[in-house]
Amino acid sequence: MMPPDDNAPAMTMLPDKPLRFPGGLQLASNKAQSLGGPIRSARLPRRLYVPLSQHIGEPAEATVKIGDRVLKGQQIARSLSYISAPVHAPTSGIVSDIGKYPVPHPSGLSAECLVIDCDGEDRAVDSGLKMRAALDADPAEIRQKVRDAGIVGLGGAGFPTSVKLNPGPGHQVELLIINAAECEPYISCDEALMCDRPQDVIDGIRIMQHALGARQALIGIEDNMPRAIECLTTALRNAQDTALRVVPVPTLYPAGGEKQLIYALTGREVPSQGLPIDIGMVCHNVGTAAAVARALIHGEPLISRVVTVTGAGIAQPGNLEVRIGTPIADIVEQCGGYTADVARLLMGGPMMGIALHTDQLPVIKTTNCILAASRDETPDPRPALPCIRCGKCADVCPASLLPQQLYWYARARDFDKVQDYNLFDCIECGCCAHVCPSHIPLVQYYRFAKTEIWDLERERQKSDLARQRHEFRIERLEREKRELEARRAHARKTPDQAGAGDADAKKAEIAAALQRVKARKAQQERESGTGESLGAEQQRPLTEREPRRATQQDDEA
């Protein structure tokens, strides 16, 4: 790794002007609808459904029981492994159930949730997260606090932030990149956050920068958000910060992809299947930075987030500060309810969002947008036609992949070949499917192939475990057999001394026992002599009678 003092030339290597990453699409932004006013606070619902797994990694484990009274900000589930995040009570109330409830997930399956009946008092507990001087604190302490606050990447993936704040030994972070591009149409929660709370954003970035030891931080923001850029630069100018810059990047979907944004800002490429840390950079979402500031400066764990509620299917689109676990139906109602045009409900944007089958699902840490789209906004998929090899998909692919080849092999379930074409570098942005003249659902094929490959990998691990256990069992059975043989052999070898002695002792014992029995019998006979046993003079006629009887019997015969 590069020694830290090499940072200065690395910084001068930054391009004067943001670059254009390969591929990408110009899409209608459709953000104005939801940016009509400031962020509103959503009403507390009657009941919150808080999933235990809202992040990448192991689900958290509930630390409260049914019937427990919880306070706002109290930890209700803890993380058991490194890549995991705890969960906090979004408000005060009573835990009324712990069990499987529907969660926003493409599968439509249910997952473990904590149900909290809100008492409406919203009483808070002291979280102990507040740090007096976070910017002077030890990075390890900051990471621990961020971890305790349950902060995960709010851009959509939900990777635990504390893990990404730890560059690990041997890595020097040159550059912290704050992803404020928010490239997907309709979504405006980050823009609203930057306009309404620029100070939180800047404070959070400074803390992250300090924790990572990064000399410089860049805020990458699409140039179609002049107000947000203005707000941030104003906040920065006040603080006279030079190590932190706002860099507008050209509006082009998907500029908010991590690798695409890094390329646009620095001209450097993250290696295939690698991480930004491999080239000395770390990328965090702007909302995550604000959440870090809320936790470490104001002592609030991650219990709410800004959610864009928009689309032609919503009467009054806007941005709302929503408690985690609030049912989607509740916040839609606060935005004036659905219009007659509503045709489809999505979590996320129109390009990468997931379809929801019901609005009875909770908002989770990674819910950036609720899109109730009309039929015009998200037309029904038209029947797929054969691929005509036009190559448009390859032109727009921001990862410079060959979508046709990926499609071909994914469709043929050739999972080795599809990986040779770097399937796992696909960010599922949907550009290829968007331009496909044959309406082939390309991203669905890639998602299918990815989950199949992960499943095969799990199967392989499971069969390896079974093989190991089976081999161990065979070895154990053989060992037991050998030990038994050995014991038997030992027993056969040593009977002469020990065995003979035993036999003698036994014989003596038996003899002694017989003796005792005889003695007792004799004793008994003597005692009962007057009764059953006869005297000599009485016995005589009897003995004389016996031969007489025998001769008599012979005569009769």
Binding site: L385, P386, R411, D414, Y445, R467, H470, R473
Partner: protein, 187 residues
């Protein structure tokens, strides 16, 4: 003439020694092809192939004594993988051996179990926990679904249940489109 014969003779002796040394120095322990075949088998150790476990079946395939289509738990995937490895043509699963079914795990009805330990002795992967006259239970994460514990149970308290579908190992379905999948997909 003599020089030529001598030279050839010396060379022959030299190469002979070299080969002899190499045979000892680079001796391959075990049969690598058996390991490779074994790695592709699902390791249920169920014996449906007619052999006493996956490794004996792998040995039989390597020796040419068994066909590659005798593994019902592995199904089509395993047959294709074996065909690729061995350079054979894939063939349909031998119907006599059973059908490729959904993955299951054994569950012991703990109310009925009498603690006879017969299932523990039958389990090829030591996935059943218990002791004589104590209730037994199956360690679900270790169970391969081989069904070998079903037959020995004197009170029929073991049943096979499908593996629970969890949100974490959910898979995206094959895209439903108007087009039929290509022939190579094996459908």
């Amino acid at each position: 003439m003599l020089t030529a014969m001598l030279a050839i003779g010396i060379l022959a002796a030299l190469f002979g020694l070299l080969l002899g040394y190499a045979a000892i120095r680079f001796k391959v322990e075990g049969d690598p092809i058996v390991d490779q075949i074994d790695a592709l088998l699902p390791q249920t150790q169920c014996g449906q192939c007619g052999f006493a476990g996956c490794r004996p079946y792998a040995r039989a395939i390597a020796a040419g004594e068994a066909d590659i289509n005798q593994c019902p738990p592995g199904g089509e995937t395993t047959i294709h993988a074996l065909a690729d490895l061995l350079g054979l043509d894939p063939k349909p699963l031998d119907a006599e051996r059973g059908e490729h079914a959904e993955k299951t795990v054994a569950v012991i009805d703990e109310q009925v179990c009498i603690g006879c330990t017969l299932c523990i002795q039958a389990c090829p992967v030591d996935a059943i926990l218990g002791a004589a006259k104590q209730m037994h239970t199956v360690i679900e994460s270790e169970c391969t679904g081989c069904e070998l514990c079903i037959a020995p149970c004197p009170v029929d308290c073991i049943s096979m249940v499908p593996v629970k579908k969890d949100i974490r190992d959910w898979k995206w379905p094959y895209p439903q489109s108007a087009q039929r999948p290509v022939a190579a997909s094996g459908e």
